[in-house]
């Protein structure tokens, strides 16, 4: 139980550390715990919000740190390394990895599984002038993202390999 809460908090501290050290021109910082998600869901009555409402009803928290920089190279791989290190634990599966040298982009999608149950998801995107960390804490079913497709900027027909299948199949990896 202690470990369950310790890891997300530690990751957030690291993500916050990046915010403090970087010269970002735009910072998006979203911290929503279960209580706030419950409150938000009460106000998600629009038809477009239905899928999102269903998804957040299961979550314990949503944490986003998005930093936008004026010039490329204002953050380095070393800034992100502590987060990568935490995502190397046995509970984490790296299900999608996009490394584009031409575009200088690295996008990773990680899921956390405990007893074959998905209990968290992290999206870490490093772009030349943008660094984004998204953590969905709770039982995220990858199929839930399919439900969200077409909304919130998520493309239609997106499918992320479920947790139990991720262990059997190789992760999606793109290197250019």
């Amino acid at each position: 139980m202690k470990l369950k809460f310790a890891l997300p908090s530690a990751m957030l501290v690291l993500a916050s550390g990046i915010t403090a050290g970087a010269q970002a021109i735009k910072v998006v910082n979203v911290t929503l715990d279960k209580k706030m998600l419950g409150l938000a869901s009460k106000f998600m009555d629009d038809e477009d919000d239905a899928a999102g409402k269903r998804m957040i009803s299961k979550l314990n928290g949503i944490y986003v740190r998005s930093l936008e920089f004026k010039n490329p190279g204002e953050f380095t791989a070393a800034d992100v390394e502590p987060i990568h290190a935490q995502l190397q634990g046995p509970e984490w599966s790296h299900i999608v990895s996009v490394n584009s040298k031409a575009e200088k982009e690295n996008v990773g999608i990680y899921i956390k599984t405990v007893n074959n149950q998905t209990v968290g998801m992290v999206i870490l995107a490093e772009e030349p002038t943008e660094l984004t960390f998204v953590q969905l804490d709770g039982p995220v079913n990858p199929e839930d993202l399919g439900e969200l497709s077409g909304n919130f900027g998520i493309p239609k027909g997106i499918h992320v390999t479920p947790a139990n299948k991720a262990q059997e199949q190789p992760k999606t990896e793109v290197k250019k």
């Binding site: 106000f43 998600m44 919000d49 998804m55 919130f152 793109v174």
Partner: protein, 118 residues
């Protein structure tokens, strides 16, 4: 005239005499004139206003009751408004978070598609 009626007459006379004594004209005390003149000079009113609430105690209670109800209603409305604002802010944050997550998933998907096309 019977003894009874005579006795009644004496009784009436006694009562009348007692009333005359009680209601006889009296001159005010010597201090009264000086007190009155002092008050006129100062332009003060008799101390009456502070007592007015106690003169109408029911009105005082009614006003207090109305004020309590008004304060309760205003507090409830304020709390409702505050909760609604907080909820709407949380909803906006959820939408921002999902849009950012969606944008990054889209980025990953577009790179995967680019690879499959090559």
């Amino acid at each position: 005239m019977s003894d009874q009626s005579q006795e009644d007459r004496f009784k009436d006379e006694r009562i009348e005499k007692a009333l005359r004594t009680a209601l006889r004209r009296q001159n005010p005390s010597e201090e009264f004139a000086s007190r009155l003149l002092t008050r006129i000079e100062k332009g003060t009113q008799p101390e009456h206003t502070a007592r007015s609430w106690w003169i109408f105690p029911r009105l005082g209670w009614a006003v207090a009751g109305v004020m309590c109800v008004a304060i309760t209603i205003v507090s409830a409305k304020y709390e409702q408004h505050r909760r609604e604002a907080e909820g709407q802010a949380a909803r906006r944050q959820v939408l921002v978070a999902l849009r950012i997550a969606g944008a990054k998933i889209q980025l990953a998907q577009s790179r995967v598609q680019q690879l499959s096309q090559h």
